[in-house]
């Protein structure tokens, strides 16, 4: 059974349509890369999956169950976690408070009945950098730290699927490197990750399959090796 | 968007027609000349909002007066009908209603108003429309003097008169240092000027140590109170009233203001303002007011009895004024023998009306009535559960009104 399945997704801002029949699938414990130029529709796709944009047409299934049109908070509770493009951490709140916003309240946590749930301890294990900054105002963190906080915050909600939007944007190479390892660990822990990226190599090192978007349409889909092998596609759409 | 269908082009004219047609909902214009038709009096007053505590009893008394007059056969053999309009305490609303009453309903006489600003506005309208306006409540002395004209008359004793009554008494006190606080609008300021000008004449050594003019409806006076007390006045004069006065008393009492200074309050002995305070009403204040509970002439006792029977409550100052206003209008119509404005005005000049508090007269040269006011000292009455006036005296208007020459001087200055 597919973890996440998107069929024929169409989205419009007002009168101008931006997504045209996007379909994609992600299996359990798999990283799927969403590639394409700036403005190709990657972020829009993730936002639409998260219920943050009205969907004109199409369907979204989570673990085989239809979740199209559900409000974001329900989707989150059903197991979709969203890490936005520009991190959108709560600047005025401390690191701890940011994590608390993402954390499941006690009663819901017990309802989900997960033993291996994320908590402060486990999050700090993954991002040791954050553990020293617990009481710092999030607005004072560096870009890399903010990115980690943003991911950690979403993890606190125990997602099964993680929508990661441009996590490496604006990060120093060292940070990118650390992030790559951390995202790998998340996959190893069993999370399904939909990774939207401009850094193609970074994404392809992590992902097992990739979708290539161009002007709101999928122009290529296949395994990562397949994509790397297809020089025409690489030249035309990825400039690598 | 699809283009609108052809029918659309009829929409604007159709809509316009509908709107103009619905104007007829405004009610008919009075068809003139039917003998048994009621005589229409247009009455504009502040029936909603902060003044309504005053105007509600006023309206009750007017209705009572109309019933009594009509029971006696009305005026000129026709019943009197009063059309009430709410000016919402706003002069522009007052003018709007005056226009409607005069142009549309063709009333014989305009009457009413509470706020000085509304009174002045309606008076200006009446001047231009050449319609008799019997101003019931607005107290600014300007109304009949500086801005007086042929078509305006006033029932109540104005700020000048009431201020003067208080000044006569205050001059006998040893105090010299005065502070004033009043609402920042026409009445609030005029109520001080009338008092202060007279007091300085009588007692040249007095000095004003603090003056505060918070906005009408301010509600929060603590800083004003400490400011006043800091100036160490011997007397505090106030023209606050209504909700402002209640708030002021509550806030000033624990500061000891009423112990630390002698307080003079214009109108504050009126039941409208003293009764809501219950047993927290300040004692020993010098006030003007209306001690309905203690005026025991047969005519007045009878008035109180009839009013109580009708409404279940004792009369307020507003009730008395409303009642007298209607009596005056009926008397003017009878004397004129006509509804023509010019004849009505002439009839109203030097008209004498007998009222529950004795006869009053509308002075021919300035159109101010000689209705007076009661001056006295406040005291809590545990039996009644609210403050009353003691040691009171009725001061008839004649005692404090200026003579003809002085009025003419003021009128010239006002033009």
């Amino acid at each position: 059974m597919m973890m996440l399945e998107v069929t024929n997704l169409e989205v419009a801002y007002g009168l101008s349509q931006v997504l045209f029949g996007i379909s994609l699938r992600a299996g359990s414990g798999e990283i799927v890369a969403l590639l394409g130029r700036n403005g190709a529709g990657k972020s829009t796709t993730l936002k639409a999956i998260m219920g943050l944009l009205p969907i004109r047409e199409g369907h979204i299934h989570l673990r085989g169950r239809e979740v199209t049109g559900q409000p974001p908070y329900i989707l989150n509770q059903l197991g979709i976690g969203y890490v936005p493009e520009d991190r959108r951490i709560f600047h005025g709140l401390t690191v701890r408070e940011n994590l608390l916003v993402g954390a499941l309240p006690e009663r819901r946590r017990s309802k989900r009945g997960r033993q291996d749930g994320w908590d402060f301890e486990r999050v700090f294990e993954l991002f040791p950098l954050l553990s020293g900054l617990v009481e710092r105002k999030a607005g004072t963190l560096s870009g890399g730290e903010q990115q980690m906080l943003s991911i950690a915050r979403t993890l606190m909600g125990n997602p099964d699927v993680l929508l990661l939007d441009e996590p490496t944007e604006g990060l120093a190479p060292k940070m990118v490197h650390a992030l790559e390892a951390q995202i790998g660990k998340l996959r190893d822990a069993g999370l399904t990750i939909l990774l939207s990226e401009q850094r193609v190599k970074f994404a392809l090192r992590l992902a097992s399959q990739a979708y290539l978007l161009e002007r709101g349409r999928i122009v290529f889909h296949g395994g990562t090796e397949e994509l790397m092998a297809n020089e025409a596609v690489r030249r035309a759409h990825l400039m690598v | 968007m699809s283009s609108p269908p052809r029918a659309m082009r009829f929409l604007p004219p159709l809509a316009a027609l509908l709107l103009v047609g619905s104007l007829t909902l405004l009610g008919p214009g009075a068809p003139p000349g039917w003998a048994a038709d009621p005589i229409l009096i247009g009455e504009i007053n502040s029936y909603s909002g902060v003044a309504s505590a005053f105007t509600a009893p006023y309206r009750e008394a007017i209705k009572m007066a109309v019933e009594e007059i009509n029971a006696r056969g009305g005026a000129l053999g026709r019943p009197i009908e009063v059309l009430f309009r709410d000016d919402k305490l706003r002069p522009d609303e007052g003018i709007k209603h005056a226009q409607e009453l005069v142009v549309q309903r063709q009333v014989a006489i305009l009457a009413g108003t509470f706020s000085s600003a509304v009174g002045l506005a309606v008076s200006e309208f009446a001047r231009r429309a050449k319609k008799l306006f019997v101003a019931a409540e607005p107290l600014t002395d300007v109304l009949t003097w500086q801005k007086g004209h042929r078509y305006v008359f006033r029932v109540r004793p104005n700020t000048y008169e009431q201020g003067r009554m208080l000044a006569e008494r205050a001059a006998k006190l040893p105090h010299r240092r005065y502070a004033v606080i009043g609402p920042n609008y026409e009445y609030g300021r005029k109520a001080w000027e009338g008092f202060w000008n007279r007091l300085r004449e009588l007692k040249p050594g007095v000095e004003m140590v603090a003056e505060y003019w918070p906005k009408l409806g301010e509600g929060e006076y603590s800083s004003y109170i400490t400011g006043i007390l800091n100036a160490k006045p011997e007397v505090v004069y106030t023209s606050l009233f209504g909700s402002d006065w209640i708030a002021f008393v509550k806030q000033a009492s624990p500061f000891g203001l009423f112990q630390r200074a002698f307080v003079i309050g214009i109108l504050l002995g009126e039941p409208e303002y003293i009764e809501p305070l219950g047993m927290s009403a300040p004692e020993g204040m010098l006030v003007t007011g209306y001690p309905w509970y203690a005026i025991d002439t047969p005519a007045h006792t009878d008035f109180v009895k009839r009013y109580r029977e009708r409404t279940g409550t004792p009369p307020r100052q507003g009730s008395l004024v409303g009642y007298i206003t209607l009596l005056s209008i009926a008397a003017a119509i009878d004397r004129a023998g006509s509804l023509e404005t010019e004849k009505l005005v002439t009839a109203m000049e030097d008209l004498e009306v007998s009222t529950p508090i004795g006869p009053i007269r509308y002075r021919g040269f300035d159109h101010q009535s000689t209705m007076g006011a009661w001056i006295g000292t406040t005291k809590r009455d545990p039996q009644r559960g609210f403050g009353i006036m003691i040691d009171w005296r009725y001061v008839p208007g004649e005692e404090v009104l200026p003579g003809k020459e002085e009025v003419e001087k003021m009128r010239q200055a006002g033009q």
């Binding site: 409000p71 908070y73 916003v101 | 003019w213 603590s222 800083s223 400490t226 509550k250």
Partner: protein
Amino acid sequence: MLHLILFQGLTGLANAMFLFLTAAGLSLIFGVTRIINFAHGSFYMLAAYLTYSLGTLLAGTPWQLGVTLAVAPLAVALLGGLIEVILLRRVYAAPTLHQLLLTFALVLIFGDAVEYVWGEANLSVPIPALLGGSVRLLGQPFPLYYLGVIGFGPLMALLLWLLMTRTRWGILVRAATQDREMVTALGVNQKRLFTTVFIVGSWLAGFAGMLAAPMISVNPGMDTTVIVEAFVVAVIGGMGSFSGSLLGALLIGELKAFGILFFPRISLVLVFALMAVVLVARPWGLLGKEEPLTAEGGELAALQHEGLPVRWRPWLAVFLGLLLLPAVLPPFYLIILTELFAAALLAASLNFLLGYGGMISFGHAAYFGLGSYGAGLLVVRAGVGMPLAFLLAPLLALAGAALYGALSVRLSSIYFAMLTLAFAQITYTIAYQWYDLTGGDNGLLGIWPHPTLADPSVYYWFALGVTTLCLVALFCVVRSPFGQSLRAIRDNPLRAQSLGISTRLHQWIAFLMAGLFAGIAGALFVFQKGSTFPDYLSVEKSIEPLVMILLGGIGSLSGPLVGAAVFKLLDTIITQYTQYWQALLGGILVLLVVNFPRGIVGYVLQLWSRRGPTDDPDAAAPRA
């Protein structure tokens, strides 16, 4: 001197605590939901009335104080929650204008409801025995109750601070104040959060009302007094910031306490002047967070029917019909219609600014009033005759618009609305307090038209002509390249900027034009009425044209005209039949906002264009 500073300082402090409690709730609600809840003052008032009723009900019983403390704010809090669930929830995705008018409608309804239940009389709540009397400070009595309030304020502030930092709810609220969409993406049920925020915010209003009740007179007018002050405090401190509300309250409280000593005559202006200065320098308030430029106009545009071909023949028919009316209608109808022309022109000028410029002015009465005062001052103070005065009067409005516009147009949506409101209030206060020039509340009387225009039907023709000319001029501007640029700015200011359009200059010029035409409307009006008053500059007068536009429909040529006509008729007719005209108007507003956001014209057009693609705003999923 020490005595003076201590006493003024303490009374200012006590006042600040009342202000803080009221403003904090207003600010909290705005921070999370982006709704300026004008009804906040109504909740304050309701709690004061409940305190009164509970007091009379339980007088003398030992649990009076305890029950009142528990029940009065809680009842109001639940009412706030109920209102949120029933009404406000429906308008979170609506344009700011609709939200503002909805809460304003609630003010009207609650105002009349309170009058209906408790009557108009001033009620008095006794001070609880525990805090009665006074204590001596520097040898002079000071009310114990105020000391209690001064002590209670910081305690409440501390409790609030704990609530906001130590509870999950508080953390969620603070997070939502920064980014509510992200909070929902993290699994928080926004609806529930908003409802609880309304409950807590209303509870604060209720608590403040209960606390204030023993020291004031409880009456139906107290809601507006308190909302204006709370609003000023919250704006100065920064909407959405608790510490900002505290700072704003302290500033205003002390400014008033000391201001009356040193500037007794202009103390009223001081408060609004401070607000204007803060808004000009830091639009988001002293401790508020800066907000990005938003394309508010896009939402407004969604409610409009633009690009319809305008058929001039029907309009010509209307014009000719109106021209002939004096032959058949009695003079009073002509007077009403003349008033209507002025109102329609005022609404059209605001619609130009709002519908096409995307700028929601909450102080448009300022320019109407300046036009009428311009005429009044010229006639009464300078002795200028009517024709010249009529021509020059709108220039005063133009000058006012030039100044205020220059300071306002840089702000977006809600902050623009607040600043225009502040400027209108300043203008109002000046007109009210500058007794020697403006006549104060007496206004200026005797502003009559030239004798040739004195007859109602002649003045009617004059007003019809002037109004028609102005409407045609406005129409031409809308259709001109300037109008197109203006709409581009409204729909997407950032894109317009990148296209090289000077957005501020365009908006400023639009502001000037709207001000000028509002001024002409004011001059038309004043010569018919013969007088001008500060009321022409009041908040109510600013809201009237907004209601007209909403009633008729935003951004179409005929919308404001139809709206003005219907509004005027309702106003004239309703007031003759019921005392509760305010509640009725409020009810109509609620109905419009919730069910007919496009107004009458929009609704009719929608009925007709059913076959076209639906772009019903309600069908779109709400913005988070």
